[in-house]
């Protein structure tokens, strides 16, 4: 059968997370810190609007780019958050999660052989999506010593005459790193000089702690060449609704709509109605969730330090990325051993790129009681290994 299949797809490595999921899922009484989604349920007023939409028969397709009212709300929200005006009729597209937007934009811009620069460690989809589109992935390995931020020098080093675009993913999954205004400012020169597009995946934009998220699109000279990707999953705890969006220059967005209309048609209608409610009345929920994540972040960071597990202090998203190299095991060996011995599931760092080797991702989208229990188990494990 395999000879009948696409070589490109056959060569694609299955997600490291999927592999680990199959192991972890078989073990009873696991405390999992391996989840990449909020522990909060979608706020009830948002769910209620979804229910009403379903009850009143809002069960038809929407326009390809999404409900007009939703696009308007997204543009209002983005104006407030990024400071840019996007035209609701032409510069925004509603997608099936941020993930679809990533795929769409890559399919829209890549010609075979184009090099797409992305950072590692990062979300698992960039590399395979680039490969599936015939692009050439070029990764930049980021280091905890530099707070996992991208520098001008690192970017310059990988640029060739084939470079097409740079994917920025901040606040970052899995490291929790952010880029501040001056960090972004430093890149602009190189980006402009080399005529790069920027794909800015800002899915965790509401989840930064003690500092505000800055979008690279907010620099006037960057707006035209930046495609902002965002969505409702993390910011509004709406993962299962599968709803995201992309903002950018109409020439790009209009081409993305073509791909989207043939592949997907439109994002789920009920989710779109719920998302309007999220944008109109969900800010208080966001503030509440952010405060709660921040408390857990402080707790977990303190506890990892107490256990002398070296860890970069994250300033965004809801992950920590501690260094486990002292134990002389690979990330996968460590994660599997911790799972078998103490029944705590974490994600091996190499699932997020080769340079994640030697690290594990711990999510703090869990109640404080789960975190306390998990830390107790991790402590026991770590002490047994250090003897």
């Amino acid at each position: 059968m395999r000879e009948l299949l696409s070589k490109k797809i056959l060569q694609l490595k299955p997600s490291g997370i999927r592999k680990f999921f199959d192991v972890a899922n078989e073990i009873p009484d696991v405390i999992s810190l391996g989840v990449g989604e909020p522990d909060f349920e979608t706020p009830y007023h948002i769910r209620e609007v979804g229910i009403q939409a379903l009850q009143s028969g809002k069960t038809f397709y929407t326009s390809n780019s999404g409900l007009k009212d939703l696009r308007k709300e997204i543009c209002t929200y983005s104006q407030e958050k990024i400071g840019n005006y996007y035209e609701p009729n032409s510069e925004v597209i509603v997608t099936v999660g941020g993930s679809e937007a990533i795929d769409l934009v890559l399919r829209t811009i890549i010609n075979p052989g184009d090099e797409i620069i992305y950072i590692e460690p990062s979300f698992v989809s960039y590399l395979p999506c680039i490969l599936m589109t015939g692009g050439v992935p070029v990764s930049i390995e980021l280091k905890p010593e530099k707070k996992f931020r991208l520098t001008k020098e690192q970017l310059e080093k990988v640029i060739t005459n084939k470079s097409k675009a740079l994917i920025l993913s901040y606040p970052n999954n899995p490291t929790g790193a952010i880029m501040e205004r001056e960090d972004l400012q430093a890149l602009i020169d190189v980006i402009q000089k080399n005529n790069l597009l920027v794909i800015s995946d800002e899915i965790y934009s509401e989840l930064t702690y003690n500092k505000h998220h800055v979008s690279i699109a907010s620099f006037p000279e960057m707006k035209e060449r930046t495609i902002v990707i965002n969505g409702f999953s993390k910011n509004f705890a709406m993962t299962g609704w599968r709803l995201g969006y992309a903002l950018g220059n109409y020439e790009i967005i209009q081409q993305m709509i073509k791909v989207h209309q043939y592949a997907i048609m439109c994002a789920p209608t009920i989710s779109q109605y719920a998302a309007i409610e999220a944008l109109q009345n969900g800010q208080e929920d966001v503030i509440h969730m952010r405060e709660s994540y921040n408390q857990r972040r402080s707790f977990l960071y303190h506890e990892l330090n107490r256990l002398k597990l070296h860890c970069f202090e994250p300033e965004g998203a809801f992950y920590m990325f501690p260094d486990i190299r002292e134990f002389g095991m690979s990330s996968e060996e460590f994660a599997v051993d911790l799972l078998n011995k103490e029944k705590v599931a974490v994600v091996p760092g190499n699932a997020f790129g080769d340079c994640g080797e030697g690290f594990i991702r711990i999510s703090y989208a869990y109640s404080i009681f789960e975190l306390k229990e998990a830390i107790k188990r991790i402590e026991k494990y770590v002490l047994s290994k250090r003897v």
Binding site: I17, E37, Q295, I368
Partner: protein, 164 residues
């Protein structure tokens, strides 16, 4: 401690009564001594009024009957409501007491072992107060939710064990 921090502290301990002062300090990015002093001061000014455990008694015993009793009263003088409230809330059977707007004045949450005990309490103690014009007693058939906690459904984590 700033007002915002005090609010965060209160919200946190209202939901999680068993966090230690050290844990609270870590979570709120404050010093343990600040947490300790603030909690002591909140206790002495009766803002923190106690630490209790929320129990679903229905699952433990059949000897637990609750009633919500409406009281219509004719208060005497300017502080009539206050004096009446002082009197009513002294009864150990009274678990909660509210003064309300609307068609009656007080709502009294009464605890007892059985219907008879509560009926007796209402007729002999509450209805017999001079200012009480009439009473309406509603027996609680079932408690679904209390203090924000759903009594029927223990939330289970529906998320998959590992996701990107």
């Amino acid at each position: 401690m700033q007002k915002k921090e005090i609010l965060s502290l209160l919200e946190l301990i209202e939901q999680n009564g068993d966090l230690s002062e050290l844990e609270l300090a870590i979570m709120l990015n404050l010093k343990e001594i600040e947490i300790h002093e603030t909690i002591e001061s909140l206790k002495s000014s009766n803002i923190i009024c106690g630490y209790h455990t929320l129990i679903n008694w229905d699952k433990v015993t059949n000897d637990d009957v609750k009633a919500l009793v409406e009281l219509r009263v004719t208060p005497q003088g300017g502080d009539g409501y206050e004096r009446l409230a002082e009197k009513i809330k002294e009864y150990p059977q009274v678990k909660a007491l509210y003064l309300l707007s609307g068609s009656y004045d007080f709502l009294v949450l009464v605890d007892g072992k059985n219907i008879k005990e509560i009926s007796l309490f209402v007729s002999s103690k509450l209805a017999s107060i001079n200012e009480v014009q009439n009473t309406t007693t509603h027996f609680v058939l079932r408690k679904y939710k209390d203090l924000g906690v759903d009594f029927d459904n223990k939330k289970v984590d529906e998320r998959m064990v590992v996701t990107p």
